[in-house]
């Protein structure tokens, strides 16, 4: 051996499968982050720079995916911590011996950290290699929703982020084990290992548990007594910031509480396990209580994936079912038809056209034909999509809409325009006068600190225009900003046709006959005219996020697989550590089956604990998303947030239930081969692990 660094390689080589498993957990996280970049660039390439609602959804999706990647890495971090903590415990004698031979504490620490860096490095490289094809695979998977995405490319910024997170988390997670290794006394080498190791017990009064308990109580008291969603809005994006901050505080409270809760849970299930599983059940429950920190970290690695799955479903449900659901009730009262140049009901696929003004403009022939069909049977609104970043709502990337007079006149009725600030007659007067006027959402009004009668400077096609605020409120299913007919010259190029042709039947019109006539347009102008009804409009938005949830679910399955790798690691080392105990159990007459049952049960229970922890965290996040985001940005300031927080739990559960079963199942499956090999040798092998029986040595050599 030339240098101490070679010892690192030898150590890694000696525990090759463990190194590989640890590296694989890292690689899945790194691959997810890299793939997100590829996915994002691919979508932006074909969705025209990511402007408009498409950009809005791409950005949200990218944030979600990066979040998932980060979560997988976090889970990997827990597992790395476990892996290295166990390595250090296992190698205590070796470390003690090296200390006795004159290795300094610093050298020991460097040794462990180098091992961690090498492991993280391998994982990061594998992850980077997998990221590109993985991202491309997500892009291709979108074609099943009718969306043809372009080729994504690996961007330097994502590579750097992935390397930084992959290596950073590995290094951070191995810091504590490395310090523990450095504090091993040289005496350890000379002493026989202490068999009667004390079982750690977590008290409720321990500072950690108490801290978690108090923080948890405080945060929920605040959320439920005075939901921040009642005052937070998009400008500044306080609601999203609050969602993240409160969500992280909740995560920490749960992590602090988990060891105590697990111990209690194990106490609680112990009598049942003993009764139904015999001594194997009893010992399995005992073993779970032996190392609360390790159990918590392993369970957490499962819990993270599950909680994100549940929490994200809650967030999406809050947006679709609560916010859009409430708003669309108003919109549906005004049931009519909209004609578009693209198919709005195609979910994700519509996004590439929606907001891309060159693709979304209606053919003049379609408009002419529609006018002929409608004649005097309905009011006709023509709507142009306009990109004006200043007044974009609900986010700056979202387009605004310029309406004609007939559409504006309908604003007399509260169900068409939900006016929240200002006088309705004054609003109509301002909107119908020449020059630029606009209505906007409360969020944009708050950003500019304006209300009815004030002015906002907005960038039009010829430069800045002063537009008077006619009112603050919402129209349609998304709280967009609207421009008056008089603003047309400032925002719509000469000769451009509208993007939407809105048909509102008169009270005395035969609706069915008119609808039948309108749908004939689709046959006459295939690929040029698409009719959508009001409830299709709502579904267009919800379908889009539902389809994204499908992809999201797939990514989270990956998170659980990543956790399973780590689980395999933990189970393997846990068994190695207890080889003597297993030998003892064999010596006093346990059958192989009994020991396997014990080991597998331990693993399954860890999975179940992970699921429960994930459910607690995820349902918490689902409720937090309703309580922090609130309805202000969506023009629903009076939304009952506590009721909404309750409502979103059911869809959150329905989306995540498969993981509740998958996690313990996977944990059990993974433990099976490890448990099998643990009981394969003779009892003597286990009692004297340094000696291999010649028969089993031959067997493993074959």
């Amino acid at each position: 051996m030339k240098s101490l660094n070679e010892l690192v390689i030898r150590n890694l080589d000696q525990s090759r499968s463990r190194t590989l498993l640890t590296a694989l957990s890292v690689s899945i996280g790194v691959a997810t982050i890299t793939a997100t970049g590829v996915f994002e660039s691919g979508i932006k390439a074909s969705w025209g720079g990511g402007e408009g609602p498409a950009g809005f959804i791409v950005n949200i999706t990218a944030i979600l995916f990066t979040g998932v990647g980060g979560m997988i890495l976090l889970a990997a971090g827990f597992l790395i911590f476990n892996a290295f903590a166990m390595t250090v415990t296992q190698r205590q004698k070796q470390i003690g011996m090296m200390r006795a031979l004159g290795m300094t504490r610093k050298q020991v620490m460097r040794l462990i950290l180098l091992e961690a860096l090498a492991t993280g490095g391998i994982g990061t490289i594998i992850g980077l290699l997998l990221g590109q094809p993985f991202g491309q695979a997500i892009l291709s998977s979108m074609s099943q929703f009718g969306f043809e995405a372009g080729r994504g490319s690996l961007r330097l910024q994502d590579v750097l982020l992935a390397i930084f997170l992959g290596m950073g988390i590995t290094l951070f997670a191995s810091l504590v084990p490395a310090r523990r290794a450095a504090s091993v006394s040289p005496m350890t080498a000379l002493k026989e290992t202490d068999d009667a190791k004390q079982v750690t017990k977590v008290e409720f009064r321990s500072p950690r548990t108490m801290a978690g308990f108090i923080v948890g109580i405080l945060i929920w008291a605040w959320l439920l007594i005075a939901p921040p969603g009642e005052w937070s809005g998009y400008y500044p994006p306080l609601d999203l910031v609050l969602l993240q901050v409160v969500g992280i505080i909740w995560l920490f409270a749960v992590i602090l509480l988990a060891p105590y809760l697990f111990q209690k849970a194990a106490d609680w299930v112990k009598p049942f396990l003993w009764k139904f599983g015999g001594i194997s059940g009893r010992l399995a429950a005992d073993n779970l209580q032996r190392n609360p920190a390790r159990l918590t970290l392993t369970a957490l690695s499962f819990a993270i994936g599950i909680s994100v799955l549940v929490g994200a479903a809650g967030l999406v449900s809050f947006q679709n079912d609560v916010l859009l659901g409430t708003i669309s009730k108003n919109a549906l009262q005004e049931a009519g038809w909209h004609i578009y140049a693209f198919d709005r009901s195609s979910g994700v696929a519509q996004l590439s056209s929606f907001g891309n003004t060159s693709a979304s403009a209606l053919d003049p022939a379609v408009i002419e034909a529609a006018a002929e069909i409608v004649r005097d049977r309905a009011e006709v609104g023509t709507i142009y999509m306009v990109n004006a970043a200043e007044i974009g709502s609900p986010t700056t990337g979202f387009p605004s809409f310029l309406l004609n007079e007939s559409e504006v006149k309908r604003f007399r009725r509260p169900e068409v325009f939900n006016l929240l600030e200002g006088d309705r007659d004054e609003m109509l007067r301002l909107l119908l006068q020449p020059g630029c006027a606009l209505t906007t959402s409360p969020a944009v009004a708050a950003k500019f600190k304006v209300t009815q009668g004030h002015s906002i400077s907005v960038t039009g096609i010829h430069g800045k225009v002063d537009c008077v605020v006619a009112g603050v409120g919402s129209y349609g299913i998304v709280p967009v900003s609207l421009l008056s007919p008089g603003a047309r010259d400032f925002f719509v190029p000469e000769g451009r046709t509208p993007d939407t042709y809105a048909i509102h039947p008169r009270p005395d019109t035969d609706r069915a006959a008119l609808e039948a006539d309108i749908f004939k347009l689709e046959e006459r102008f295939p690929d040029k005219a698409f009719v959508s009804t009001a409830d299709q409009e709502v579904r267009a938005v919800t379908d889009t996020s539902d389809q994204l949830m499908v992809i999201f679910n797939g990514m989270l399955l990956l998170a659980i697989v990543g956790a399973a790798f780590g689980m395999l690691n933990t189970v393997m080392v846990g068994i190695l550590e207890r080889q003597k105990e297993i030998g003892l159990l064999r010596a006093v007459g346990s059958t192989r089956g009994q020991i396997m049952n014990m080991l597998i049960l331990e693993s399954v229970l860890t999975g179940i604990f992970g699921v429960l922890l994930g459910a607690v965290m995820g349902f918490g996040w689902a409720a937090i998303s309703a309580l922090t985001i609130g309805g202000i940005a969506w023009t629903l300031p009076d939304l009952d947030l506590r009721a909404a927080a309750w409502v979103v739990l059911t869809p959150a559960f329905l989306n995540g239930w498969w993981a509740f079963i998958a996690a313990p199942l996977m944990a059990g499956l993974i433990a099976y081969p490890v448990a099998r090999s643990a009981v394969r040798g003779s009892a003597v092998d286990a009692l004297q692990p340094e000696r291999r029986d010649i028969i089993s040595a031959n067997r493993s050599a074959q």
Partner: protein, 225 residues
């Protein structure tokens, strides 16, 4: 009447790259109710012999008859059941489960056998009293001294009333006073209950408690006295 009969036992195993011949053609007979000490220098094969006699390990060659059964003909499950019911083991390092109390550690072989601990409370108390730990029954191993832990291990070996007790250096890790206690308990089990005791030791003082001493050298029986 012989309870254990070993003929021409050979055992080879691998230690790193080297093949070790731990036993070379050992013949060994143990009568019921006998207390035998197996002595020898370290590496002489005494622990290996003990493991083979107890069915913990299988010989490379030769055979062991235990209570009229050929161990080599038994499958793993039957062998396990014999270990569970007919043999009690005592190890040098006490090998108690840290999560169980003293009483539960003692009851472990019964629990493994699917028995209910409640039905055997009196038996557990009896052996606890026998080893002088009646007041320590709810203590965890880490709350006990080394000598006390070893007495728990002996109680665990006695609780099933096994015909044979195999002890691998039971006093090797204890001070002489604690060691003396342990040996008295073993002698007692042999005298009062007619249990057969085979003890590996390299302590001449400990060996004095035995009825007979078998000395091993280089994997062969050197002398019996």
């Amino acid at each position: 009447m012989s309870i254990l009969h070993a003929t021409q036992l050979n055992k080879e195993y691998q230690m790193g790259e080297v093949t070790v011949h731990a036993l070379r053609g050992v013949d060994f007979v143990v009568n019921k109710g006998e207390f035998i000490a197996i002595m020898g220098a370290s590496g002489s094969g005494k622990s290996t012999l003990l493991h083979l006699l107890g069915g913990l390990d299988s010989p490379s060659d030769g055979e062991v008859m235990l209570a009229g059964k050929r161990l080599a003909q038994l499958n793993d499950n039957d062998l396990t059941i014999i270990r569970r019911r007919e043999i009690g083991f005592i190890f040098q390092f006490f090998n108690l489960l840290p999560t169980l109390s003293a009483a539960e550690n003692i009851a472990l072989p019964l629990l493994i056998d699917g028995k209910r601990i409640g039905d055997y409370a009196a038996k557990v108390d009896e052996v606890l009293t026998l080893v002088g730990l009646a007041d320590r029954k709810d203590h965890r191993p880490h709350q006990l001294s080394g000598g006390q832990q070893q007495r728990v291990a002996i109680a665990r070996a006695l609780v099933t009333d096994p015909a044979i007790i195999l002890a691998d250096e039971p006093t090797g890790n204890l001070d002489s006073a604690s060691g003396g206690e342990i040996l008295k308990i073993l002698r007692h089990a042999c005298d009062e209950k007619e249990q057969t005791i085979i003890m590996v030791t390299h302590d001449e003082h400990a060996a004095k408690y035995a009825d007979r001493i078998a000395r091993l050298k280089d994997g062969m029986i050197d002398a019996q006295s």
